[in-house]
């Protein structure tokens, strides 16, 4: 049930699935996990629902469902023009959407001096990507935003041994590859970094656009069939 519709879409559009098929995570709780083993970071996806770890994380496609689509309000104008479509994967759990967190629970706090930084390094996709938090009194705290370029300030500060949730934004439907880099100061290994690690997201359009895409996909499928003959 969880990943059926997207597999169906992939099939109807005639997309070739890679040799190691990706798993689509659509609902439930999953984390972008940061571990550190034998002197190296391990950035992965941890699906809490099936207790599965995807390392490298590209083995999982993090799905931003159609229910995430909203209209950009004034307070989020930094991410997209007010009134335009915006997909928000929220920090508060919504049963029809993926509840994506950031977990450093696999790290031993005493192994680290200070906090970790998870930086945005690249965004490849049809729109912009952003991360923000909502403060105690509702203030919007922008953590990452590719709409104004990607700079050193596009980062999250993560406490070793912790777990947190943020709001993730996307400005257009389609497939995204988001490059993230973890860095911190290890008590024995010193300053260490993961290098850029890619995460795959798919932003699902509204049902009517989805139907249109599927129809287009069927055309593509027919053409593909004909070409094979």
């Amino acid at each position: 049930m969880k990943s059926l519709s997207l597999f169906a879409l992939a099939l109807t559009t005639g997309l070739a699935l890679p040799a190691t098929a990706q798993t689509f995570l659509t609902t439930g709780h999953a984390d972008i996990g940061i571990a550190y083993d034998a002197g190296a970071f391990d950035l992965h996806v941890h699906d809490e629902e099936s207790a599965t770890e995807f390392s490298p994380p590209s083995g999982a496609v993090l799905v931003v469902g159609a229910a995430a689509q909203t209209t950009t309000p004034g307070v989020l104008s930094a991410f997209a023009p007010v009134g335009s479509s915006l997909w928000i994967l929220p920090k508060t759990q919504n049963a029809s959407l993926l509840f994506l967190g950031f977990g450093t629970e696999e790290l031993t706090p005493s192994d680290w001096t200070g906090n970790l930084t998870l930086s945005l390094k690249s965004v490849s996709g049809p729109g912009n990507f952003g991360v923000y938090d909502t403060g105690t009194f509702g203030d919007i705290q922008i953590k990452m935003n590719s709409a104004d370029g990607i700079a050193a300030g596009d980062s999250l500060t993560l406490v070793p041994g912790s777990h947190g949730h943020y709001n993730l934004t996307f400005t257009a439907p389609g497939n995204y590859t988001i490059g993230l880099e973890a860095a911190g100061t290890h008590v024995t290994d010193g300053a260490v970094s993961s290098g850029t690690v890619n995460y795959s997201f798919t932003v699902v359009p509204e049902p009517e656009e989805y139907a249109a895409l599927a129809a287009a996909g069927l055309v593509g499928f027919a053409l593909w069939r004909r070409a094979r003959r």
Binding site: V75, K91, G135, T136
Partner: protein, 286 residues
Amino acid sequence: MIRLLLIAVVLVATWMRCAAVPLAERVRLTTEHVDLRIVLAPEGTNLLSLVAHDGDRGTNHSATNFVLVAAESAKLSVPDGFPDLGPAGSDLWVLPASQNPALLYLGISGEGLALSPQRLDLFLRRVDGPGSCVVWQFDGVGGLSISLNTRDGLTEADRFTPAVGGHEHHNWGFSTNGLYTLWFQARSTVGGTNAWSPEVPVLFAVEPVPAVVAGPAVLATSGLEPDGSLRMLLSGTPDATYTVEGSTDLRAWEPIRQVTAGQTPQAVPLPLPAQSPPRFFRAITP
């Protein structure tokens, strides 16, 4: 130093089986990621209960054994425009929905259930404390959503509805420092049938907690322990510590043990030496 002389009243008291654990003996949860977790047992008399799940250590504490601490640094000032949270400029100690390493990170959890109910609810039934308590979230676009608020009284609407198998974080606000007991009751709905937990008291310490001013205590005999010592029950101001002393002549008193009073009478075993002359006992404040 004030010494209160307290009278030992001899009466047969009902043995209180579930004495509340004094503050000093509870596990202090101060900066951990802790969830109030609904436990749904597949069988047994208490189908539903509530524990504190310490996510940092992977341990569960029963509700009577912990205190959730809001440190002094949690104290904020309510901004303009949030009348549901308090008057603008008033104090509010907040355990935030977004983790602050210096503060308790408190969640509500419907994870790890032995059964799969269609729905879980956690109702706030009453609050004993010096101020008000309000619990809220902001949605992604800045909309305020209040789960619990004692400022306008408690109704069936003062509840959490945690996702089955999920967990959530809220902002927990307290208007005054001191000790608060929040009484929660969980409900699970399985196959259209509701099951209810007992009302579970959850203790919060909003710091600084004012020192407990010990009022008069009462010592009552409640029979003999199996080893022949006298079992007495001490009732006093909860969390105040008393010294129980003994004497044979009502002039020379010797300290026997210290007892911290709870919400219900605390059992105090007192040795009775063989061939002892008549002994008197009293409980005094330090």
